[in-house]
């Protein structure tokens, strides 16, 4: 560890982890949407398989339990994944944390943001969701927050752009 020169900077936090209160989760509608997208087809497939197999092959209809079990597992896995999504606005950078099995924690300094993008597809709009994507000069930066409510996405976008302007740095 180097002794990074901490100048007389009162506002900026030094290397501290965000407190619990600083983290924000994402909207529950994201979980509902994903459950519909993943579990819906699985349940449907199970039901169709059960009906068809029961009529034709008797006990083989039990195979329909496989998609149902998958749906049940996905139900809870999606909940865990949804709970893992969170972001924190620190004084100088934005932290985005997500993933259960494969965890990814990304820090993007405000001054490095080239572009803040809010997207919302038709399905997302129906669930009242928006996705915020940050672009830096590095193409490998994968910083996106899913499952924001449109007002929150707008607020975050405006705040990030504003902070980006004041803290802008060259390449």
């Amino acid at each position: 560890m180097s002794s990074a020169p901490h100048t007389t900077d009162t506002t900026a936090g030094t290397a501290h982890a965000p407190h619990e209160g600083e983290w924000r989760g994402v909207d529950r509608a994201l979980l509902r949407m994903r459950r519909l997208l993943v579990c819906g087809p699985l349940l449907l497939a199970g039901a169709v398989a059960a009906a068809v197999l029961w009529a034709t092959a008797g006990l083989w209809a039990l195979l329909a339990l496989v998609p149902w079990a998958a749906a049940a597992w996905a139900w809870s896995a999606l909940a865990r994944n949804w709970r893992s999504w969170r972001y924190a606005e620190r004084a100088d950078d934005l932290l985005i944390d997500h993933g259960v099995l494969w965890r990814r924690l990304t820090v993007v300094p405000y001054g490095r943001m080239q572009l803040v993008e809010v997207t919302s597809g038709p399905l997302q709009r129906r669930y009242g969701l928006a996705r915020l994507q940050l672009h830096t000069a590095a193409a490998t930066t994968d910083a996106a927050v899913r499952g924001l409510t449109p007002p929150e996405a707008q607020r975050l976008r405006d705040r990030l752009t504003e902070l980006g302007e004041t803290r802008s740095a060259g390449l």
């Binding site: 990074a4 990814r104 490998t140 930066t141």
Partner: protein, 463 residues
């Protein structure tokens, strides 16, 4: 248009001859700016000729029959159509191409049917390279390649007279450095001091000590040998040996030819790199634009203490454009590196790198020894590679984002990896660190990058 350089804008056509006026009226309007060197249309002329010659050589017998069968009349009429058409097209495309330097931009206009105007912002210029291909050297022309931030494709300005190219390059760099336009035009080439020259002998030795060379040579000897032992056919042996050896030769000697006589000069507008045996390449690395440095040490070089240094500069190619030193000993490399990244000490950075916890060997038995990471006041250091050791140095001020990644087996061993992205699209990975250390590193790195940026030097280094 007051900021346009008047001396080089084309003179309005004098009403000398009515014929000339009529011709000029027929031509499409000439875009404002300076035309390129008149030799330019010919630069693509050799390609179809060469292609014809090569196909002719390949099927010599057929080509001979063709030519004899073609009557002279057909040949002449063909030439009568093709040659003037090509000449007219070449002339028109040259006519419609021009460039213009304003206070803030370099404008390049091209295109006969589809007009294209490229406005290159001068303060976004990463580097201006002069390239002199072999044929161009004989005619006395050179081309300019311009690297801009955030563009993948490089804009070319080819061809210009050699002197003009050098003067334009100096002017563009002076403008990019923030010099006033009036003085920039007469800035001329900034004085340079020789930093380093790689001796051909060193270069040969280094090429011979590269693992890839031996793999290529052994591969091209062993595989045909086995084939010969199995089949006993000399023809099969040659059929495999010749292409294999030529491939091995091309990879090794191709690199040797392009990197021959590598010189590095220090000048106020950056480090100047000249290299090449046949076509001389000239590149300038402006200070403060280097995003990351890669130090490569092939296995056989390590005992000699030789290193290869590559740069990641935004907009520059990752391979050829990024080489700072093809081969040099550590001390010399450190000295040159200190010019590129002021305040960076190569040996201190190498010493700072430390291995992760031993338990990482459960996941990556041998590889874990190769991974090392450390930080100094100036750079983030990450090392990897068992045979060829690669050390990446990223200045704290150039970090674009920091990422922590933890997969399932990482978690079970309580390990994590930290990736640092730089503006040139590269990523430095500190792999297999202790999870708690990685968390602290992530936050500390974000913090260091912030303070590093504050003290970083300005983009326009002359203002």
């Amino acid at each position: 248009m007051t900021d346009v350089r008047d001396s080089r804008t084309p003179q309005p056509v004098s009403p000398a001859g009515p014929v000339r006026r009529a011709v000029v009226r027929l031509l499409p309007t000439r875009p404002e700016g300076t035309p390129l060197h008149p030799v330019t249309p010919w630069r693509r002329a050799w390609a179809p000729i060469a292609a014809l010659a090569v196909t002719g050589l390949h099927n010599a017998e057929q080509a001979r029959r063709w030519v004899t069968e073609l009557s002279l009349g057909w040949l002449a009429s063909g030439l009568l159509v093709v040659v003037p058409a090509a000449a007219v097209y070449g002339f028109l495309s040259w006519w419609c191409t021009s460039y213009l330097v304003t206070e803030t931009e370099l404008r390049i206009r091209t295109g006969l049917l589809f007009r294209r105007t490229a406005h290159l912002r001068l303060d976004r210029i990463q580097a201006v390279d002069v390239h002199r291909p072999l044929l161009g050297r004989t005619v006395g022309v050179a081309g300019l390649t311009l690297d801009l931030v955030g563009t993948d494709s490089k804009d070319q300005l080819a061809y210009l007279g050699e002197d003009e190219a050098v003067a334009l390059r100096a002017e563009l760099l002076a403008l990019a450095a923030g010099m006033a336009p009036q003085t920039a035009r007469h800035a001329g080439e900034a004085p340079a001091a020789r930093l380093l020259r790689v001796r051909p002998r060193t270069q040969l030795a280094a090429a011979a000590l590269r693992g890839s060379f031996w793999v290529a040579v052994l591969g091209s000897l062993v595989a045909p040998g086995v084939l010969y032992a199995v089949t006993g056919s000399v023809f099969a042996l040659l059929a495999l040996l010749v292409p294999a050896l030529s491939l091995a030769g091309r990879t090794t000697f191709g690199r040797l030819v392009t990197e021959y006589d590598w010189t590095v000069d220090d000048s106020p507008d950056g480090l100047r790199i000249d290299h090449g045996l046949l076509g001389r390449e000239h590149a300038t690395v402006p200070p403060g634009r280097v995003q990351a440095v890669r130090v490569r040490e092939p296995l056989l070089w390590r005992r000699l203490g030789w290193v290869r240094v590559e740069l990641e500069v935004a907009g520059m190619g990752k391979q050829e454009g990024g080489t700072l030193l093809p081969v040099a000993d550590r001390a010399a490399a450190a000295e040159v590196l200190a010019r590129v990244l002021p305040g960076v000490d190569l040996s201190a950075a190498a010493a700072a790198a430390a291995r992760g916890p031993r338990r990482a060997r459960l996941g990556a038995p041998f590889l874990w020894r190769a991974f090392a990471h450390g930080t100094t006041d100036a750079v983030f250091v990450a090392r990897s590679g068992l045979l060829e050791r690669r050390t990446v140095l990223v200045p704290h001020a150039k970090v674009q984002s920091v990422r922590l990644r933890q997969g399932p087996w990482h978690r079970s061993l309580s390990l994590a990896s930290v990736a640092v992205d730089n503006g040139a699209g590269g990523t430095a990975h500190a792999r297999l660190r202790d999870a708690d250390e990685a968390h602290a590193l992530l936050l500390a790195q974000a913090d260091r990058s912030r303070t590093g940026r504050r003290t970083a030097r300005a983009e326009r280094w002359l203002t």
